[in-house]
């Protein structure tokens, strides 16, 4: 038997280089990201009056949820945001999966071209995307009506961005147009990793085409679909730019496209007659943080764990 102390490695000298390698990244990240996140949380428990900042406990939260005007705006923004996310889940992700499945068809000429072209809108800024679609959908510029005319659907045309009923759906679909490249790429990558012999075995069993996709490939890429969904969620609940550049800071018409991001911007920064309120802004940011955190936790601890179990 060996003495236990023999197994211990000799005490190593303090390795300075590790600290040197880590320090710049950790410092910048902590100072500009982590501390401000906690500071935002702290600010939400304070308020300011007559140039004095004082602790108010949960009063800001009580105001956000209790004051009918604040609560109405908040729930409207949250509901719109949920709908915005729903459109992405129902349109963007299935479309991304379908495009990825088409791209992964074996021996497809022009694959690289299709991939790059479909991914193109993703690299454009929200400002550009928002404005492009604002122009295209504008009743002033006859592009949309004449296009609809071409396929015999002229009667479908309406000033989509100006009507409360359609505005949010339209903005969400523009966002889908912009972002569909991301799920397409991630799922395409996942499809590529499916071993070839598995597919060949399926073909020997006579499982081809659509049923091969549904029965063999789709179950195998479920974890990737999970990741895509969570990325979509975080992106959507943090969205701001597209609505801001298409519909303005008020999320018009009449708040129909107001989402949490624009609500936070208006509250924090002020808009037109309304003054900015950093403490209420911090409160809204904290609530958004909480929503994102809860959903990520649910995903990590329940969904992803269960998926792992099904993998083999």
């Amino acid at each position: 038997m060996t003495d236990e102390t023999d197994l211990k490695p000799p005490p190593r000298p303090w390795r300075w280089h590790i600290a040197v390698f880590l320090a710049p990244a950790v410092l910048v990240y902590t100072a500009v990201m982590i501390i401000p996140l906690f500071e935002t949380l702290r600010l939400s428990f304070f308020n300011r009056a007559d140039g004095q900042t004082f602790f108010v406990g949960i009063a800001n939260y009580a105001r956000l949820f209790g004051d009918p005007r604040w609560a109405a705006s908040f729930w409207n923004a949250l509901w719109n945001n949920a709908y915005f996310f729903l459109i992405h889940m129902v349109v963007q992700n299935p479309l991304g999966i379908a495009l990825a499945a088409l791209l992964s068809v074996s021996r497809l000429p022009g694959r690289a071209f299709y991939r790059s072209a479909i991914f193109l809108p993703t690299i454009l800024s929200f400002v550009i995307v928002g404005f492009i679609w604002k122009l295209i959908l504008s009743p002033l510029w006859g592009v949309t009506p004449s296009l609809l005319d071409l396929i015999g659907l002229r009667w479908l045309f309406a000033p989509y961005l100006g009507l409360e009923t359609y505005a949010l759906t339209t903005v969400a679909l523009v966002s889908v147009w912009q972002w569909v490249g991301i799920p397409m790429m991630l799922i395409y990558a996942a499809l590529l990793t499916i071993p070839e012999d598995l597919i060949e075995a399926a073909e020997i069993d006579g499982i081809t085409g659509f049923s091969q996709f549904w029965r063999i490939k789709l179950p195998l890429i479920l974890p990737t679909i999970g990741i895509v969904s969570i990325l979509t969620f975080v992106g959507n609940f943090n969205a701001f730019d597209l609505v801001y550049s298409m519909q303005g800071a008020m999320g018009g018409p009449n708040g129909a496209t107001d989402i949490l991001g624009t609500f936070l911007y208006r509250t924090f920064f002020g808009f037109q007659l309304q003054g900015g309120d950093p403490h209420m802004g911090a409160t809204i940011a904290t609530v958004m943080f909480g929503i994102i955190l809860v959903v990520i936790s649910i995903y990590l601890f329940i969904i992803q764990r269960r998926m792992r179990r099904y993998e083999f």
Partner: protein, 281 residues
């Protein structure tokens, strides 16, 4: 004969191509429509929006307006400075941290890795209230430095995560041989490991660059002054003001699209390889 020939029979291949071409048109046409209408005269923009410009309808009047009325050259310069500086810092600091995490075993390694990875999921935007207060307190509001700091912090988590994955694949024998030769850890990192992970660095660079160049939120809040406006913010302001001058609006949009488009065409292979490599993990 391979079994897979059954999968690419002619009618099926045609269907696949038709579907992909249809979506490609949906993805690309709106962008092209804006770019080619930007060089048409006002009457042609409204009269025949779908047709390509001809010699009769060709004009650069929109570009002239943008170039003379807006401060676009300055905005371009600001965007360039902010993007290049942030990407450089993300790559340098990110690679250093990734090397520490992937190369050395030390107490708290895993915890440090998790701490740095937190930022991948949590948007930095939610800390804006406090970030603005901090920038006001340090006098950095309306400076490009404030943007560089925020974007560096924003880009680091994903960069560290991706680069650490790649650095784990660098052969340990190589590094140990260098250690036997008496090279310091710093020289091993800068002279041996950095050149080896250059492809991964290029991927991370493109990934980091696009959201920075396109961001509207932080320029709007931290640096909205005329001297520090970025292209995205400048285009947003310009589009708001000149909403009725369609030539100028279309030209401003095209000017904002073309640099990113050029960059994309240059790096698209790298970018796509990066996404597929990252997702395989």
């Amino acid at each position: 004969m391979s079994l897979s020939t059954a999968r690419t029979s002619t009618p099926r291949a045609i269907t696949v191509h038709a579907a992909l071409i249809l979506y490609t048109v949906i993805a690309v046409a709106p962008v092209l429509l804006i770019v080619y209408n930007s060089v048409k005269d006002r009457r042609a923009i409204f009269g025949q929006p779908m047709t390509l410009p001809t010699w009769d309808t060709f004009t650069l009047i929109g570009y002239e307006t943008v170039w003379t009325q807006g401060n676009f050259p300055l905005y371009f310069q600001n965007s360039l400075i902010v993007t290049v500086a942030s990407v450089f810092l993300v790559l340098l600091f990110g690679a250093m941290a990734a090397f520490a995490l992937s190369e050395y075993r030390f107490r708290g390694n895993l915890l440090m890795g998790l701490y740095l990875a937190l930022g991948i999921m949590i948007p930095i935007r939610l800390g804006t209230v406090a970030i603005l207060e901090m920038m006001v307190a340090t006098g950095l509001v309306n400076t490009l430095t404030s943007l560089v700091l925020v974007y560096t912090a924003q880009g680091l988590p994903l960069a560290i995560f991706i680069l650490a994955e790649f650095m784990r694949q660098v052969s340990g024998d190589l590094k140990n041989a260098a250690r036997v030769d008496g090279l310091s850890e710093y020289r091993i990192f800068f002279q041996l490991v950095m050149p080896l992970v250059r492809p991964a660095m290029a991927t991370v660079a493109v990934f980091t660059m696009i959201p920075i160049w396109n961001d509207l939120w932080f320029p709007l809040i931290l640096a909205p002054s005329e001297a520090t406006k970025t292209v995205t913010l400048g285009a947003q302001m310009f589009l708001g003001q000149y909403v009725t001058d369609w030539n100028a609006v279309l030209a401003a949009l095209s000017l904002a699209i073309l640099p990113v488009l050029g960059l994309y065409l240059l790096f698209s292979r790298q970018l796509i390889r990066g996404i597929t490599a990252g997702a395989v993990k």
